[in-house]
Structures are given as C-alpha cells and as structure tokens.
Symmetry: C2
C-alpha cells in the first residue's frame, strides 16, 4: 500500500522533508510506502536544492489539497493565510494534515482541531514546537496518564543563541543580534523571535495540549530580550543565575483551573536543568504527577531536525492507515480536542521572584528608602547587593522573595516617585525563577 | 467500551499503576475505559498500600494470562521466570502485553517480539528503560525517520546517585553505597546496579530498537563503578571531567553494520549534556541523521514515574483498540521486530580516549619510560600531569588521544612489565568520552 503526500511549500523544511522521503535506504520500512505526490510552491522558476520531477511542482496549492490521489497534506508554507484556508480545505477533502506552522496552530488550533475531528482526520504538529525535539507526541501520549502542573521551555533558538553569546562574550544585545543575523541564526526582521512572539505561539500550543483547554493567544504576557543588558547578565552570573528567555505555562495553585501563561527573560538558578541549555538548542521541561520532572532537549530548528519531526508525523498517519485502514475512528491519543477556553490569570496576580537593579546617588539613606518602599508593599527581599559604581552612582541589585507581580509593581512605583528627587533610577527589572 | 487489565505483580510499580488507573479524575478520558480485572501476587496476606477488592487478588497468575475477560496483561513481577513464560502464555492467549521488565526483554526480546507479531498482539515496554522517561516510544516513533548513529545513556539511577555523592562529598564508594542502601536508593544486593548489569540490559534494549538487530546480551562489555575512587573523581574534576557510568551503543564507522555496545565508568567533559545529570536522574542522548542530538531526561525509577510509563503503554493499546477495533493488523511503528543479530565489535577494537593514573617511584627517567611504552604501541598522549605525591610516590595522570583499546592494553602491559622493577604501578584506568 502506498500513501501519497502533498507538500505545500518546498523551502527549508519542505526540502528537508523531501530529502528523507526520497531516501529509500532508511531503517524504517514504512518509509517505503510513502510517496511525494505533489509539491506546491510560489515560484516555479526558483532553483531547488533537490531535483524534483517538474510535473510534481505546481503553484496551484488548492489543487493539491483537493487532489483525490493525495492522502496526507503537509503544510510547510508558514504564516496565517493561505495556510489556514488550505488546511481547512484539505480537512474538508478528507485529507490528514501535518503542519510545522506554530503561528496558525496557536491562533486557529481550535478551529482546525474541530474541523479535523468532525471530518475524522488527523492534524499532527510535532514540528511546530521545538523543531526536531519529540515533545508534542510524548506530551499527548507518553505523559498521557499525568496531571501536568507546569511546562517551562526554551523554545526559541534565536534568542537562546543571542543570550548565550551575550553571556559568553560579555557582549551587548545589538552587537550579538547583528552577528546572529550574519550567521543566519536570526532573521532580517527579528521581531517575532526577539520580542518573544514565536515563543508565545509555542507555549500556547503546549499549554493547550497539556491542560486540555483553548488558550487565548492574546492573553499571553510576552516580554522579549531587547532590554536584557550585558551588565544584568554579568550581575546575574555573580549571583548564581543564568538569564534565559523562558516560556512558562503553569497551573495556579490557589485558583482552580486558572493558568499562568507567559514569556519573559528569567534569571534561572545555575543548577536548574534548563540553565545549561545553550546556543540554538531548545529544551522543554514538563512537570506533573506522578512523573515528577522530565526534560526534552534538542535542535529547535533547522532543515534536517524539523524535517525529522514532520516525517515522524507522516509516519504516524501512515502506520495507522496501514494497520487499521482508512475507515476507522480517530485514535483519541493522537487527535487533539479542546473543551472551553482555559482562564488565564492576569499578570498582576502571578507570584514570582524579581531581580531589580537600581542606580543610586550617593546620598545617605538611599538604601533605607528602597527598603521602605518594598516593605510598604509586602515585598520581602532575599538579597540586596551593592555591586559597584557607575558614573559615580552606586549600583544596587536586589532579589526578592516570591511576591505578587502587582505588589512588586506598586513598590517600584513608590521607588520611582521617590526618584523624582533624582537619587534613585531603576536600571532594570527581571523575573527570577 | 471498557478494557480489562490483568496486573501480574502488585509491588512498587504495580501499586503505582493501580493508583493511576483507579483515579478517575485525570485529564485523559481514555483512562475511564480501563479497568483492573485481576491482580496476581505471590502472597495473599501481605498488607497492600492500595485497598483492592479481595476477589481481584490471586496467586494463580496463569489464570490471569488466560482469562478471556482480560485484554491487556501487565507484567510487573520482574526477573526471568515465571515472567517469560507468563508473557508467552498471555501472547498465546491473544492478550496484548505491557512490561517493565528489562531483564526479560534484554534476554528474550526476540522470542517475545516474534511470538507477539505472530499472534498479532503488541508487547510494549516503555518502563523497562529510563523509568518514567519517554524513550522507547520516541525512539521507535518520533525518531523513526532517522538513521541512529549513537545512543549514550545514564540509565541506572543507583550508580548515578553514588557517583554524584562521591563527587559532591569527596567520599569513597563503600561509604556512599552504605548510605544509598540506607536511603533505599540501592538494594541490599547491589550487584545488578553497581556492576553495570542493569545498565547493560537497558542498552541492549535501546540498541536493538535503534539499530533494528538482535543484541547478544552476553557480548556487551560491562564494567561497573566499584573501582572508581574518590581520587580519580577529584583528578577528573581538575581536568574538566565528570565521571559517569555510561551505557553506549554506537555504529562503528569503519566496519559496516558492526555495533559497539558497552557499559563502563567514563570521564565526560563537563560541557557534555550528560555531565550535569545528577543524583537518581537518568538521561538518554540519541544521535542520528538528520536529527543531530536529542536528549531525554527524567526520573529513572520510582513508583509514580515508572507507573506513568506503564500506563502510557496501556493507554497506547487502549487507544488503538478503541479506534480501530480488535481485528486490525499491527501498527508497524508500535510493534517490535528484529532481523538478524547485530554484529558486536570486540572490545579490543573499540577506539576511545583513556585516563590512567600511575604511582611512580621517584627515579629519574620514569616519565620517560611511560612515554616510551605508550609510543611503542601508538598511544599518543593528550596530556600528562603530575598531580601530586602519595606515600612518597609521584602520582602521574595521563589522558590519551583516541586509541584502539587493544593498543592501549598492550602499552599498559609494557608499563606493567617495566614496573616489575617496582617503580611504576597502575593505580587506575578509565575511559574518556
Ligand atoms: N526553518 C525552520 O527551521 C523551521 C523550524 C520549525 C518550524 N518551521 C515552520 O515550518 C514552516 C516552513 O518554514 P520554512 O523555513 O521551510 O519556510 P521557507 O523556507 O520560507 O519556505 C516556504 C515555502 O512555502 C512556499 N510558499 C510560501 N507562501 C506561499 C504561497 N502563498 N503559495 C505557494 N507557496 C508558498 C515557498 O515557495 P517558493 O519556494 O516558491 O518561494 C517556499 O517553498 C513555517 O511554518 C515555519 O514556522 C520552520
Ligand atoms: N521499582 C522501580 O522503580 C522500577 C523501575 C523500572 C522498572 N522496574 C521493573 O518493574 C518490575 C517490577 O518491579 P517492582 O519494583 O514493582 O517489584 P516489587 O516491588 O518487588 O514487586 C513485585 C511484585 O510481583 C509479585 N511477584 C513476584 N514474583 C512472583 C511470582 N513468582 N508469582 C506471583 N507474584 C510474584 C510480588 O508479589 P507479593 O507482593 O505478593 O510479594 C510483588 O507484588 C521489575 O521488572 C522491575 O525491574 C521497576
């Protein structure tokens, strides 16, 4: 039995996917049953890294998703449209769908899952989070017996590369970004990566699968790494922390069914399993009961790794079709379903530790005033360190105990109003894990 | 549709499994369809951590594996017999099988897989390696499109705990072993763990799945941690290494289809992803093409984590039965099949780096002699460090470049014969990653 795959897109991931599918000499015999039926692209003239029978190529992507010969549609064009419409049309035509598109799943996951379930087809998305790292399938299947309490991920390779370089070289954000762009680790327009939007898409997907509810993408708090400075990285190091852009989804303990979902740079204790994930690597830490902690680590992007994930989804569908035939019910472990929206706690209610750096004029009583502002809003301090002098201003770093974001913000307001006297300025504020 | 599970064994893992199955309030609706039909134990009088309907309990395990009401037999008694015979009888009676038993799979995997494939049932074994860590399913399914080149694991929690404690406390093996036994991290008879036998079972299973061939368990080189000394750990640290008990399976590059499969304490560079896996945690690093490196990290044992893996296998079978019914062909991604035995390279042919520590009388020319012995057998040295003095003897540590094990052994023989002059003794020899 042979299964025909229709590829939408033949760029980085599409090419990698075709490279695996056309290499017959692999350990998995099931790969022999999979054929590339059609390939949809934007331009027919573009030179391609893999020579394809020109008859396979088309710019008419609609004709692929409705082609009766195609069993599985693999969406690798990216972006919201026409990806979303093409996926919906493929589903309506009874095709199984594989996609690497985090943007479309994070925003239209519910719509797509509902359509797929109604049509009795699978929509699989292993490559949409963590590139080659097996995370979606392990989360849905291998950890399926667990109550998940928290997912913490380094899910954006560009920002992890930048932060790692800043840490190793003591360099500033802008310099490292330029270098990353030259090396191809960052896009010309780096916004989606450095402002945390890509990470927010991914944690939305993970949270919806782990907690079984729809996630309002717009409700995710999202802070990027542009304001992380070389100084803060170095002070964090002195205090035993590494700064990482974390994507976090966790159950709030005191409020039933409320989730915290957020992306921000975070000071991680060096002993934390995610603290040693460097460069373009990604990792996702899943915590639950009774499993405890498990972590999945690997390449978060790239042609080969991402294609490995795409092909594993194609194989999963082919394996089912081959063993059970085409007219069986969906396996509840592989299909995605969502009930209601998960309530997402407002950021002010999040409880976390904070790191803040202040520049203080050398007036007597300044540290005392800082302490008073914090005390007034029930922010208790774990450590206060005077790190050094900068332009004759004393640099003071505080790390708080766990505190409600709201209280901490109020305390900072208090400090700010005091600094109208021009003796304290807030140089940076970061969260601590 | 409800599926009935027959549990063989109700000890640590059996109790944990029942705890999950009887807790109806979990996120996975499929769990609602699974019922505990029978439970087989050795003693009916033993107090049990979970109260079971006494009618469920029996000491007649054969009656469970042939019970027409049972769909899935879960073998959690451990050991070779009666586990092997019971699994074979369950398969013959058309039951799907889930097992956590690495010993029986490492030795009789081929026989059990062949019987299962013939009978058209699954035999799943996620819990047999890495406790709660999803590794078997990701290896078979998520990484199914890859050519695996190497698997490197810390797959025994007891030895990893002991080595971690020795590293952190500078303590000797015997002292830490006693402590580990008191804490329940090591068994009264620690042989299977500390001599590397348990790790060898696990790497046999991983290698057979990753490379698709049968592994002769007896051909696995196996060296435990008894001879690792506090001194070597501390010298390794000074050189930038952490000592871990690694289980390694890798394709030999120059010899087609030959595998190296071995378990031994190893000096790992501190930057290696496995170097920071501490305590009872396990981790498995998989390398392949096109994925690159992926690592799976988590709790390698324990009631809850291991039960999480067992139940994920039960769910996998229930999901298939529920969606596809009972009379479908086996899904090739989930079933295990083996062709021929993999040829395992003899240890003498393995190429690796070595660490060796020598105690030398303070005679002129001793270091020169060491160098001569190594040079004669084409062992080139990466570093030679005189670390200190012990009982008036100079302590010299060498780290070699990559060298064939055979050549290194011959060089050591040469050193040994020279040491008949009583001026050099070999204090320890370890491999370096
Ligand atoms: N690259 C990675 O490392 C990576 C990792 C994880 C996930 N992903 C995801 O994988 C997807 C694909 O990424 P990529 O890096 O492979 O993208 P890419 O290199 O930019 O390739 C996009 C492909 O889609 C085609 N295409 C785009 N818009 C089209 C349209 N409107 N009509 C027809 N064809 C269209 C392009 O055609 P032409 O070739 O004719 O221009 C190109 O072949 C994205 O969702 C991305 O987020 C990528
Ligand atoms: N414990 C872990 O963390 C862990 C982790 C990974 C894998 N595993 C594997 O899981 C399996 C079970 O381990 P465990 O720790 O749960 O063992 P355990 O606590 O010793 O429990 C063994 C159970 O099997 C029953 N049993 C043993 N031999 C029997 C026989 N001949 N007839 C009937 N019943 C028999 C015992 O009955 P009684 O209760 O009446 O004595 C007991 O309920 C083993 O293969 C082990 O390697 C364990």
């Amino acid at each position: 039995m042979a299964f025909k795959v229709g590829l939408l897109g033949f760029g980085t991931v599409g090419t990698g996917t075709a490279a695996i599918l056309r290499d017959r000499d692999r350990r998995n015999p099931l790969l022999q049953d999979i054929e590339i039926g059609r390939v949809g692209v934007k331009s027919l003239d573009k030179p391609r890294a893999i020579a394809l029978d020109p008859d396979l190529l088309t710019t008419d992507l609609e004709s692929i998703v409705t082609d009766p010969d195609i069993d599985i549609v693999v969406e690798l064009i990216g972006g919201l449209e026409p990806a979303r419409s093409l996926i919906l049309k493929a589903i309506a035509a009874g095709k199984h769908v594989v996609t690497a598109n985090k943007a479309v799943i994070a925003r239209y996951g519910d719509e797509l899952y509902a359509a797929a379930n109604k049509a009795g087809v699978y929509i699989l998305l292993e490559a949409s989070v963590g590139g080659g790292i097996p995370i979606i399938k392990p989360l849905k299947e291998s950890l399926g017996a667990n109550r998940i309490s928290q997912i913490t991920g380094i899910v954006n390779g560009t920002t992890n590369y930048i932060l790692t370089q800043m840490t190793e070289e003591g360099a500033d954000f802008d310099a490292v970004l330029t270098e990353a762009q030259q090396l191809g680790y960052a896009e010309a327009d780096p916004t989606a990566d450095v402002d945390g939007l890509d990470a927010a898409d991914k944690i939305a997907i993970l949270a919806s699968l782990a907690f079984g509810g729809r996630i309002d993408r717009e409700a995710i708090y999202c802070e990027g790494i542009r304001q992380v400075s070389a100084e803060d990285i170095s002070y964090a190091e002195k205090l035993g922390f590494t700064i990482k852009l974390l994507a976090i989804a966790q159950k709030t303990e005191n409020r039933d069914n409320t989730l915290q979902v957020r992306v921000h740079p975070t000071l991680l204790p060096n002993a934390h399993p995610l603290a040693s994930i460097n460069g373009v690597y990604n990792a996702v830490l899943v915590e639950g009961e009774p499993i405890g902690q498990v972590m999945f680590f690997g390449p978060g992007a790239g042609e080969g790794p991402t294609a490995s994930a795409v092909v594993s989804d194609i194989l999963a569908i082919a394996g089912i079709l081959k063993s059970a035939g085409k007219n069986t019910a969906l396996n509840p472990l592989l299909s995605c379903s969502h009930q209601d929206y998960s309530a997402i706690a407002p950021m002010e209610e999040v409880v976390t530790r904070f790191y803040a750096r202040f520049l203080c004029g050398d007036r007597p009583g300044v540290i005392g005033h800082l302490g008073t502002c914090f005390g007034k809003h029930e922010v208790s301090l774990e450590s206060v360190v005077q790190i050094g002098f900068q332009d004759k201003l004393a640099e003071i770093v505080v790390v708080t105990h766990d505190v409600q974001e709201k209280n901490f913000r109020q305390a900072l307001e208090e400090v700010r109003s005091f600094s109208a006297l021009d003796s304290i300025s807030i140089a940076s504020v970061l969260r601590v894990f």
